[in-house]
Structures are given as C-alpha cells and as structure tokens.
C-alpha cells in the first residue's frame, strides 16, 4: 500500500473507521488488527470501486464487512449474538472520557449490525447513507435507530449523570 493512497484515500475517513473498529473490539491489540486489516482490504479492493457510490460509502462498507468477518472468525459460529453482554474494555484501551467509555461498552453489547448503525448515526450519516453502507432499506433505519437509542438509554441509565 503506497503512502499516497493511504494519505489521500484512507486517512480522511480514518475517524469513522477507527470508531467502527472500536465498536467491534475491546482491546488495543484487536483494534490495531482490525484497523490494519480494514486498510489492507480497502487497498486491495480499490480496483473494484465502480463509482456507483461515494468513495466514503465504499470505504465504510468495506470497514464494516471486515469488522464483521473478523468478529465472525473470533466468535466462531456465534455470528449473530443477541445476548446483551456488557464487554468491559481493557484498561489501556479506555478513552479519557468515562461517559464515552460507558457508551462504547453499551454499544458493544448490541447486535453486530446495530453497532454499525448507531456508530454511523452518531457520526451524522444520513439514513440513506447508512442504508447504502449496511445494504438495507433507508425507511427501516429510522425505526431501528429509535429502538437502539432506547436500548442504549436503558443500559446507561443510572450509570451516567
């Protein structure tokens, strides 16, 4: 991967890539693996980009697919996990802001797709763009976001002042 490609085609979107990768990992080591794999796959897939969507949408779609694939490998067969398990972050992986840590822990307890939806929503992506990235109908996104927010509120209630 050339430095130029990284600087012009990945780095401008690294903020959301990082936030997405963090939604699927709970240690710095895993996070770095996910991030590096995402970068590598974006670079490898660059010839397949047909300009039918924005480059950013393409990048986020690959990021999400890589995260889901790596998570699938990690969890073996338990791909769709409905259990609302609170995965605590490892100490050196925590953010400086405690509320953000709790929010991320709550996001990590959501189902795989919901993690991506809420991360993209919080990054102010439109319903249409979220639907393009996830590969679903934009009409369903709004309803789903409402449900996720209620779930997150329940999980965080009493924990954040």
């Amino acid at each position: 991967m050339s430095n130029d490609f990284y600087k012009t085609s990945i780095l401008p979107f690294s903020g959301i890539i990082i936030k997405l990768c963090r939604a699927y990992t709970n240690s710095q080591e895993d996070f770095e693996d996910y991030f590096q794999e995402v970068c590598l796959q974006i670079w490898r897939s660059k010839e397949n980009f047909r300009e039918e969507s924005e480059w950013s949408t393409w990048v986020y779609r690959i990021s999400l697919n890589v995260c889901l694939t790596l998570l699938k490998k990690k969890n073996g067969q338990n791909f769709v996990s409905d259990s609302l398990r609170f995965e605590e972050t490892v100490d050196n992986y925590a953010f400086a802001d405690e509320s953000l840590n709790l929010l991320y822990d709550a996001i990590r307890s959501l189902s795989e797709i919901d993690r991506a939806i809420i991360t993209l929503y919080l990054e102010e992506k439109s319903y249409q763009e979220i639907a393009d990235i996830i590969g679903t109908n934009p009409n369903n996104i709004g309803v789903r976001i409402k449900r996720i927010k209620i779930k997150l509120k329940d999980l965080l209630d009493g924990k954040i002042n």
Binding site: S14, K19, F35, Q36, A96, D97, S99
Partner: protein, 219 residues
C-alpha cells in the same frame, strides 16, 4: 441519564485523543510472521503424523503378515522425517528481525530448497513404497506358502505357457518395472500435488503477500 447519547459521543471524542490511527507499516511484518508461523505449525504436525503413521503401520503390518512392507515403510518414512527435520532447523534460523519482504524472500528460498530436496527424495520414496507393498504381499503367508508363489501357481494352471524369470512371470516383471519407472519419473510431481493439498492455502497467502510487497517496493 441527563445527557443524550449524541452529546456523550460528541463531547467524549472532543476530550479524547483516541482517534489517532494506528501505524499500518507494521502490518506486513505481522502478517508475514503469522503466515510463516502457521506453515511451521502445519509442517511440524505433518512430520509428527508421518512418525505416528509409520510406527502404527509397522505394528499393523506385523499382525496382517506383511512385516517387510511395514519395515520398508518405516525406514523410508523415517528418512523422510529426518531430512525434513533438518530442513526445518534451517527455517528456524531465518531472522525475524529483518524487514517483512526480506523475511518472506528468505522463507521463499527455504521453500524452494525444501521442495527441491523432497522432489528428489520422492523419486525414490514412491517407487520403494510401491515395491515394498509388492514384496510384502509376495512373501505374505498363504496357507503355508508365500502368496506370490501361490498366485504364480494359479496363473500357470490357467496359462501354462507363461514365461517365468526366477519364478516370476515376465509380464508381471514388465508391469512392475513400468510402474516403478513412472513413479520415479513423476515422483516429484506427485510430491508437488501432495504439497499443494496440504499447504496450498498457505502458499497462496504467501504469494499474495509477496505480490503486495513487490508492488510496494516498485517506485
């Protein structure tokens, strides 16, 4: 909860410096070491499996009356394991501290040497294994006389004009020599085929990594 999740998100990231992208230049080193470590593990498991098989077959061959086959299998497979164990020691000597491209190149060189040694060995291994089976079954006891002699007796009763050399039908000798020659000629290719079945996926990954790194190093 007083704050909305949107404000926790925004304010949290404003306070945090956690959005620094990890360095990606380490990626290939990690991947190279991972691919090669996987190969080493598979290679060791394969050698252990050969040792176990040769021992088990040696015992079984005694009980089913073909100890010559078992013994020859054991000798040949032991030689195979010893040769490859020595080759593996060479692989352990590759310095992990060099750049990933150098590391992969050194590994690639090792693979070429390993394949070349084993191809030459395969030209002997497969014919000898085939002969060991023929000899083993020839001398297998069949109601007091060796199975080979019994078979020749039956062939002679059906075809009395069969030409024999040292008590063995000429046609059988010709067929055996033909098969041995084929195995000697194509032993290397059989080995390559065998190698691809076991390590094909690892080699493919290695090729992809090498291609990536070569593309990286082109100005």
């Amino acid at each position: 909860m007083e704050k909305s999740i949107e404000s926790i998100w925004k304010e949290g990231f404003l306070k945090s410096d956690a959005l620094v992208a990890p360095k990606v230049n380490n990626l290939y080193t990690q991947k190279s070491i991972h691919v090669i470590d996987k190969f080493k593990r598979m290679f060791r498991i394969n050698l252990i499996a050969i040792v176990v098989f040769s021992f088990v077959f040696l015992i079984i061959s005694y009980f089913i009356g073909i100890p010559i086959t078992g013994a020859l299998f054991f000798v040949m497979l032991s030689a195979l394991v010893i040769i490859n164990k020595r080759l593996l020691e060479g692989l352990e000597k590759i310095d992990k501290g060099v750049s990933s491209y150098e590391y992969l190149k050194a590994f690639n060189e090792w693979i070429k040497q390993q394949v070349s040694v084993n191809e030459r060995f395969a030209a002997f291994l497969y014919p000898i294994i085939f002969l060991s089976m023929i000899i083993g079954f020839w001398f297998k006891d069949a109601e007091g006389i060796p199975l080979g002699e019994r078979l020749v007796g039956e062939v002679l009763s059906g075809f009395p004009d069969t030409y024999l050399i040292q008590g063995i039908p000429l046609i059988a000798i010709v067929v055996i020599i033909f098969i041995v020659a084929l195995l000697a000629i194509f032993g290397g290719r059989i080995y390559q085929w065998d190698l691809n079945i076991v390590y094909g996926r690892v080699f493919k990954k290695l090729e992809e990594l090498m291609a990536d790194l070569e593309e990286l190093s082109t100005p």
